[in-house]
């Protein structure tokens, strides 16, 4: 990914690999968040060993 100049140093044009990898990274992080929250909730419900 490279930045464009000026006003628009605020805009960027992602490269082809970035077009693919950024959504994957965001998806993985979201999945990790969901799993972490789910683990805590399942523990509270007694479906996993409580902490």
């Amino acid at each position: 990914m490279k930045s464009q100049p000026n006003r628009s140093s605020k805009r960027f044009a992602p490269s082809r690999w970035a077009e693919r990898i950024v959504p994957v990274i965001l998806g993985v992080l979201l999945l990790a968040l969901v799993l972490t929250v789910s683990f805590v909730i399942l523990s509270v419900l007694g479906m996993l060993p409580a902490g």
């Binding site: 605020k10 950024v22 992080l29 972490t36 929250v37 902490g51």
Partner: protein, 240 residues
């Protein structure tokens, strides 16, 4: 493991100073909340250092209070202030968090310690021993879970949401990447509880270190460039 905690403490307080410095001239309540959250983070890791040299009931209580109960929630409250447009909602949540935090302090202060405290082993992680020493009532456990869920969802979710917005609009590359790093960093200590239950007690210290390093890197990246004149974009940037 105390070397990692020492490093985490230094980085946490340095990070807190950087956030408070930014708060001095930008004045956003989100920066104040993040600064407070980072001070809690630093106190949590500092008490780990203390407990790796000697046992102290106060250090143990502070470790649990800051590390397990308050840090994530206060950091997450910063994200709430930044991302929730309705100030009344954010302020109401702030009042609830303040009351919950005061209750947490009181509960932890009066929580009895068991005789196992006498057998505290400084060579073993506190994360492996605290359950035998600190009597956690149902209220403490419930409050810990609620505060952590609130903090994790708002901090990580807020950073991911911001990163997604920047990505979708293809603007402010530094803030998009910064928010990704913040989300990844915030997830690290959030997973510690899960790994603790799996018996990986040392992961807590590693996760705290990686977490604060990633969040600091993300924050620095997000505010790089034009630090003062980007207020128009503040409402959509977790790391402003």
């Amino acid at each position: 493991m105390h070397y990692i905690s020492i490093l985490s403490t230094i980085i946490s307080f340095a990070f807190a100073v950087a956030v408070f410095n930014r708060y001095r001239y930008k004045k956003g309540p989100h920066l104040l909340m993040w600064g407070i959250g980072l001070v809690f983070y630093g106190i949590g890791t500092l008490t780990e250092v203390v407990l790796s040299f000697t046992f102290s009931p106060l250090a143990l209580r502070l470790w649990y209070l800051t590390g397990a109960m308050l840090t994530a929630a206060w950091l997450g409250q910063g994200s709430v202030y930044l991302l929730v447009r309705r100030r009344r909602v954010a302020s109401t949540l702030m009042v609830i968090l303040t009351v919950a935090s005061v209750v947490a302090v009181l509960l932890i202060l009066v929580a009895p310690l068991t005789p196992a405290a006498a057998a505290f082993d400084v060579t073993r992680p506190v994360s492996e021993q605290y359950k035998d020493i600190l009597t956690r009532s149902g209220a403490i456990v419930a409050l810990t879970i609620i505060l952590n869920l609130y903090g994790t969802v708002t901090l990580v979710g807020g950073a991911l949401y911001s990163a997604w917005l920047f990505w979708r609009k293809k603007i402010l590359l530094n803030r998009m990447l910064g928010n990704i790093l913040i989300a990844a960093g915030a997830l690290m200590p959030a997973t510690a509880g899960t790994f603790l239950q799996m018996g990986l007690v040392d992961w807590l210290y590693v996760s705290e270190f990686l977490g604060v390093v990633l969040m600091y890197a993300g924050f620095s990246l997000a505010i790089s460039g034009n630090p003062v004149l980007e207020s128009k974009h503040a409402a959509t940037s977790v790391a402003n």
